[in-house]
Symmetry: C2
Subunit: 334 residues, 2 copies
């Protein structure tokens, strides 16, 4: 590998001149500039990233850490969407992405303290995430995806699940529905993350405001559980005419259970799904959706992290929202 002094020698200039040509932090005469750039091209010179980080005043490595859940029950599609958005956005900020798994809790300290990364994006944050104190004490910018109880000095990005539920209920209430069910996940990880509770709170709040009767039921992602879930909702409220489903994995089972029972969407039942993109795709019957903007969340997280790494901005909580998209899943209550 050619070094900067190889370039300097080849171009017949000093080492610092090469550095300034490359960084643009000093005005350079055109002939010199050309000679240097020619030498760079000739030698195929690329500055050593480590040396650059070590010498620079900012001490930046141009690498951000991304902590992802890679365990079995993580939603691989959602994780992939995040990863794609984060890497893409990072590149736009001249940064690369170092991957850390959630299991490697020592990794947070390691990559941060050894100056491998300039900052971290951490997925899958629980309401009372045990990593919060550690992350807060790292002394590096951190952006959490999720909304923990304590956010002292940490930036957070999340979807506004409460607003999504209010939007869904409002949409259905305007169509004349007065009795609406909510289906949520029964898995504990979803509840530890807190968004199920926030969604339910929004659901209940808007229902109360609109004078809508409610039923709530959790569901497992199987055909049998879907049938049980529907039966449970009907037992609570025989007059249900609409459903808000916050459970991507159970959605297809619910839809086909309804189909088997001769319940037609939207004629007999209106259905709004809250979930990641694609969750409602490929369903035999269309439903309305409030999409969790996973990619957007990843993008915003990196933007916030970049800003904080550059010393701009302060820790803040950003809750993203997205509109309800009607695609034939809802109809006026009859």
């Amino acid at each position: 590998m050619a070094t900067i002094s190889d370039v300097a020698r080849s171009a017949g200039v000093s080492l610092s001149t090469v550095s300034y040509v490359l960084s643009g932090k000093r005005s350079i005469s055109e002939p010199t500039r050309t000679r240097v750039l020619d030498a760079v091209a000739l030698l195929g010179y690329r500055p050593n990233a480590g040396a650059r980080a070590l010498a620079s005043a900012s001490n930046r490595t141009g690498v951000i850490g991304l902590v992802v859940p890679l365990h079995e029950d993580a939603d691989v599609n959602v994780v992939m969407q995040f990863v794609r958005a984060v890497t893409t956005t990072a590149r736009r900020h001249e940064a690369d992405v170092l991957l850390l798994t959630q299991e490697d809790s020592a990794g947070l300290e390691r990559v941060t303290a050894t100056a491998l990364v300039d900052g971290l994006v951490v997925l899958d944050i629980a309401v009372d995430d045990p990593r919060i104190p550690l992350l807060a004490g790292l002394g590096r910018p951190v952006v959490l995806i999720g909304l923990p109880r304590e956010t002292q000095g940490l930036s957070c990005v999340d979807f506004d699940f409460a607003l999504a539920a209010r939007t869904a209920v409002d949409h259905l209430a305007r169509l004349g529905h007065t009795s609406i069910g909510l289906v949520s996940s029964s898995t504990s990880s979803v509840h530890q993350a807190g968004y199920a509770d926030r969604l339910q709170a929004g659901f209940l709040e808007q229902a109360a405001a609109a004078g809508v009767r409610v039923a709530t039921q959790s569901c497992d992602p199987t055909a049998a559980a879907a049938r049980t879930c529907l039966a449970g909702l009907r037992a609570q409220r025989p007059d249900l005419t609409a459903l808000v489903v916050h459970h991507e994995a159970a959605l297809p089972h619910l839809v086909s259970a309804l189909g088997e029972q001769g319940v037609r969407i939207p004629r007999d039942l209106s259905l709004v799904s809250v979930g990641a993109a694609g969750a409602a795709a490929g369903l035999p019957q269309p439903v309305d959706v409030v999409e969790v903007p996973v990619g957007e969340m990843g993008r915003v997280a990196v933007e916030m992290l970049s800003a904080r790494i550059s010393g701009a901005g302060t820790a803040e909580v950003r809750l993203l929202s997205s509109p309800l998209v009607t695609q034939g899943g809802s109809a006026p209550a009859s």
Copy 2:
């Protein structure tokens, strides 16, 4: 952040002594060792990764690059399994993982030339992958997952698809089956990767050796395509009594199509699937499987890369195999 000289001062020793205590490359008296380690603990000292890489003779950064396909039609489950195995194994070798996407072709050169990474693991290699010349000219150890036509100086890890097919055919032939069908994917990316062809070659070879009649048919992952595929196979060979399926996404559709047609597995038809772990899970009827050891491939790739980074080993091609697991998917031909 505390530096090594902070530690030296605090411990009342020289800078080099601290370095030697930490690296263990010199024998140190017990009292000195203790004083240094105490100072390290007291100050929370962690060596700067960049400075260490810069100064060390080996010039190693302790980071390996992982190039993954993140585009829509990549199998997210398989990619995740790779990523998990690679990160886990890398950690066992004291390395971290930098993530690069397949789209970022300039990234190969960037992370390698700027010494961000010590080497690369590249997934999803096509038979005539356009990146091969670039990768070969990088001047850093590279391990490919896949088997390109030209492997000059590059290490490769892949599953022995030909052997898997031979194993499946052999198993079925021993059970007395004399007419066996092969279902493969029709997607072009699978064929560019070459393993579909290798599997088919092994299938035909073993069939010829065992005097087995064959039918081959590609299939799309839909219920309709599965029915068409089965009809096509029967048209070629009305006497088919066994199937080898090399198409994870189509497998459930094939199985349920068979179920609808009253074809019972294994009584009426024996079925062996070749695919990643879990592909045959959750099927209404059990099938036999030859599992593509995705995690193992990732593990081996990192082991090979680590060895090459340490200067050990040479470029080699390793084809992994795995046994056929019977789980009630096959029975003697009647």
